[in-house]
């Protein structure tokens, strides 16, 4: 399992690995928002948590295409499916690698981009906390979506349609936690629900993804 994680991280960091794709998208989106909304700092600071959460979600979605497709094309998935490593574990590790290369950089970049969007000072901690709790769910749900649509040529559109509704609860509670944090309200409820979504997805979706993948690679 560790070998698979190291290999995925190494591949992501080498040329053409797609590391930074999501981060660049996130950067572009949040840098452009103040230009399109206009220089109204009150408005910006009220929409900042929502924009940052939406940007993270879309950046995650953007990188899902490559999650399994590359391994499918070069035959790695076939061999992995016949290897002693259970497919459930392999997919969980791939989701973890996706989170480390996509989710974690987004979490780390968000506070800096929060400054651009005039995020109130008390909101930074909760923004980072909510992203830290929520982005693992985005990665594992995305892995499930990628497994469902594997083997379909140009399956990206179908995958987006499948994954987006599943992303909505994470977005609602994540953005709500960040927004409440920014205006100084109690954040326990949305934060707990967000953690619940993440833990539930991490516990269940590797099995669902492996079942879907067994169906799609044959």
């Amino acid at each position: 399992m560790i070998a698979l994680l190291i290999r995925d991280l190494r591949l992501a960091l080498r040329a053409g690995g797609g590391f930074g794709l999501g981060l660049a998208f996130f950067l572009i989106l949040t840098v452009l928002v103040p230009f399109s909304v206009g220089p109204q700092s009150a408005l910006l600071s009220s929409i900042a948590p929502g924009i940052l959460w939406l940007g993270s979600l879309l950046a995650c979605l953007l990188s899902l295409d490559r999650l399994l497709a590359l391994d499918f094309e070069d035959g790695t998935l076939d061999v992995l499916a016949t290897a002693p490593l259970p497919l459930e574990a392999a997919l969980a590790v791939k989701a973890l690698a996706h989170w480390i290369t996509t989710g974690l950089p987004l979490v780390l970049a968000a506070p800096f981009l929060g400054i651009l969007l005039n995020l109130p000072p008390q909101g930074f901690v909760w923004l980072v906390a909510s992203l830290l709790l929520g982005t693992p769910a985005l990665s594992i749900i995305g892995t499930f979506g990628a497994a469902l649509t594997e083997g379909i040529k140009r399956g990206g559109l179908l995958m987006s349609l499948l994954v987006l509704p599943l992303y909505v609860p994470t977005l609602i509670f994540g953005a709500e936690a960040a927004r409440r944090g920014a205006v100084g309200m109690a954040i326990e409820t949305p934060l707990l629900l967000l953690a619940g979504i993440s833990l539930g997805s991490i516990a269940l979706l590797p099995f669902a993804a492996a079942a879907a993948l067994r169906m799609t690679i044959r």
């Binding site: 560790i2 070998a3 698979l4 290999r7 190494r10 591949l11 080498r14 040329a15 053409g16 690995g17 094309e73 070069d74 035959g75 790695t76 076939d78 061999v79 992995l80 499916a81 016949t82 290897a83 002693p84 490593l85 469902l148 169906m215 799609t216 690679i217 044959r218």
Partner: protein
């Protein structure tokens, strides 16, 4: 340990392609599948590797014993040959890759990125993967595609060494490797018409 197929039928894309396949493979023996394109060789091999379900019949002795090599080599273009092999060795819980590099004369290429290799060199690296798995049954689908004569010789030697060590090999190939092997011609083994019942594997489309 014996690989035994009893009356196996397989389908591809919802269409039954092969039926009533029965054979036995014992340690130290090789079996070559012959048949024209589209006769179901790949589908049968994928079923034996556990990558797709059978329509009917039974496959025994294939659980966790098969090392499968299909049309794609399973190499990452941005990793070196040695890194690719080390990864697969680690997946199968092993470390040693030198023997595999040596058998296929890959030592001079060990530090090259797999993406920069020629088709034949990639194939050799893909076949070398079988040697790091330590699994007794090699299931090989057209293993000699894009190999030159010298490389085919290396491959035949590797298979022979594997058989001498008590392994088994199941190959779909059209060229004569000079290995002593049973030959199973699957040309006549069409699926029975009643196998059509419930043959659809299209769950989503």
């Amino acid at each position: 340990m014996v690989l035994r197929l009893t009356d196996v039928a397989v389908a591809r894309g919802g269409v039954p392609v092969l039926g009533a396949v029965t054979f036995e493979l014992e340690p130290g023996r090789a079996l070559v599948l012959r048949g024209p394109n589209g006769s179901g060789k790949t589908t049968l091999l994928r079923a034996i590797a556990g990558l797709q379900p059978v329509l009917s019949g039974r496959i025994e002795g294939a659980e966790d014993t098969v090392a499968y090599a299909g049309h794609a080599d399973g190499l990452k273009a941005m990793l070196s040959v040695a890194e690719n092999l080390q990864f697969w060795a680690a997946v199968y819980g092993r470390r040693e890759i030198d023997a595999a590099l040596e058998t296929y004369a890959l030592a001079p290429l060990a530090d090259r990125l797999a993406g920069t290799l020629s088709a034949g060199q990639k194939r050799r690296a893909g076949l070398a993967r079988l040697m790091v798995t330590d699994r007794p049954i090699w299931v090989l689908d057209e293993p000699t595609v894009s190999l030159d004569i010298a490389a085919v010789g290396m491959f035949a030697d590797a298979v022979r060494a594997h058989l001498d060590g008590g392994g088994m090999a199941l190959l779909a190939t059209h060229i004569d490797l000079g290995i002593e092997a049973q030959v199973l011609d699957i040309t006549g083994m069409r699926a029975a018409p009643d196998a059509l019942h419930g043959a659809s594997d299209e769950a989503f489309l």
